[in-house]
Amino acid sequence: MSAAAAGAARYAAPGNGSLSAARAVRAEWTKFRTLPSNLVTMTITFVTIIGLAGVLLAALAGEGRVPATTELLAGVSWAQFVPAVLGVVMICSEWASGTSKVTFLAVPTRWPVLAGKVAVVGVATFVAGAAGAAGALVMGATTGVDVGGDPALVIRLVVGTGLYLGTIAVLALGLGAIVRNLVGSILTVIGLLWIMPFAAAMVPVPEVQELTLYLPTSAGVLLITPDNPAVGLTPWGGYAVLLAWAAAALAGAVLTLRTRDV
């Protein structure tokens, strides 16, 4: 055994491989696809959006009413919980499962790990969200909703659902990297994405109520709602606010990864 081990170890060929940011990103994709639960999570996101559109159609049909195109995506606000948790789990499970040491021993520069997770969770959630939105709209079109009337809106809704959910997932990932503890991170995300808008709306001060619009979910969701000039932000303006939240969370995440012990 000893001779064989030594011989193989000496002969063996790791090739002339070396670390690069691109390879670190690839490794994150390998990680993502080798956990069966991730495919399940993506499927749940997709199915939730379509399923809630179906529930809505059925409910309104009972009242003899046909929903507007944007109403078909009302379920996204519920479905977003899934990518948000996914974002948190992708980073926090590194510590919860003990893989963090292996991960950061292989990539001691650390930030490429975060970049890889951003790319993977962002793209995967974009695909699931856009596909879910497309499915919901197709289902609406086949049941009498006037979806084809505004092609530009359709594109904004499909792409927008993907972008919105993908960015929510990335924001959650960034917060998870800062908080690191799984439960603490999920509570933080729920607080920022769901509780804050409700809480702020209850403060009877007009200035606070105006600021509510700039919270991540309130601003971001404008991308998949009808353009309303009465609201202080355009759909894409609202998305830009969400992006800024995600960027701030990622900046905090990079700083935390750099300075905190693994």
Partner: protein
């Protein structure tokens, strides 16, 4: 070459887990890193490989800080924890994710699975692994890049006897190829089987840094029974030699080999009725070395990280 630790200190809150630690680990042999639980072994190893940022001092591998390595896995293989793979991921996929960071070919993953003796379980999820299989998987990861330096934290923990033999041979042959092998343990008996050199720490500070034989060699003791105890004590009393008289004409002489005692006695005609060399076991030497450290730590509730 090897590992150079220079004035390393690591503070958690107000507690120093490691303080002003300086030592070198030479390539070409297995070096043990010994100390009671909580002595700072893991902290030191984590600092060497850049997971912890030292509060003071530096730790270099072949002259370079770990974080600066271009291809860290080809320079250093590290095992810090028997449970280092995601429970739901298959062992082979765990290895592939690590290999992907450096672009190692799939063939290499298969090779290290063979090296670690994991062929039959490679497609099982890591959550089903025993502690010993987890250690083997960790070692497989460490060997991926065929590194020149190996750092292993308590690698024997959880291995069955066959696994212990396996790792002893593996580490021995890796060292024989000129690699640097540095492994920790809180049990001296484990290290004594594999290490040539030993670095002992306690309470985060260096206690000993010496070849493993000299831990015992410097404590030669001979128990002698003679009717002329006083004459013998006068005869051998010299620098570095201590004597302790026991009951019924027996005296213990520390610091002289048994042959020397017998010869000196014969020269002056002292009759020795009984001569017994007393070897201090490694375990005794270790216990003696770390006694103060352990006592202190036992009363030190907010001790360092384990």
């Amino acid at each position: 070459m090897g590992i150079q630790v220079q004035s390393l200190g690591k503070q958690y809150g107000r507690t120093w887990a490691v303080r002003d630690l300086t030592f070198e680990v030479q390539p070409g042999k297995v070096t043990g890193f010994l100390g009671p639980n909580g002595a700072g072994k893991s902290t030191t190893m984590r600092s060497i490989v850049g997971l912890d940022r030292p509060t003071t001092g530096t730790a270099l591998i072949d002259g370079v800080r770990y974080a600066r390595l271009r291809a860290p896995l080809r320079e250093v293989g590290t095992v810090l924890d028997a449970r280092s793979a995601h429970r739901s991921r298959r062992a082979v996929d765990h290895l592939r994710t690590v290999a992907a960071t450096h672009g190692f070919p799939r063939r290499r993953v298969d090779e290290v699975i063979g090296l670690a003796g994991l062929e039959s379980v490679a497609h099982r999820r890591a959550g089903q692994f025993s502690l010993g299989m987890g250690q083997r998987l960790g070692i497989a990861v460490a060997l991926l890049g065929d590194p020149h330096t190996l750092i292993l934290d308590e690698p024997v923990n959880g291995l069955d006897p066959e696994g212990v033999t396996w790792i002893r041979r593996l580490l021995g042959s890796l060292a024989a190829e000129g690699r640097t092998v540095f492994l920790s343990s809180h049990l001296l008996s484990e290290l004594a089987l594999v290490a040539e050199h030993v670095i002992v720490i306690g309470r985060g500070e260096l206690i000993a840094d010496s070849p493993i034989d000299t831990l015992t060699a410097d404590a030669e003791r001979v128990r002698v029974r003679t009717e002329e105890v006083d004459a013998l004590v006068r005869l051998v009393s010299a620098e570095g030699v201590t004597t302790a008289s026991l009951d019924n004409g027996t005296v213990e002489i520390t610091g002289l080999p048994v042959e020397a005692v017998a010869r000196r006695a014969a020269e002056v005609g002292i009759v020795l009725l009984e001569v017994t060399p007393i070897h201090r076991t490694l375990e005794e030497a270790y216990t003696e070395l770390t006694r103060d450290a352990v006592e202190y730590r036992a009363g030190d509730a907010d001790g360092g990280r384990p």
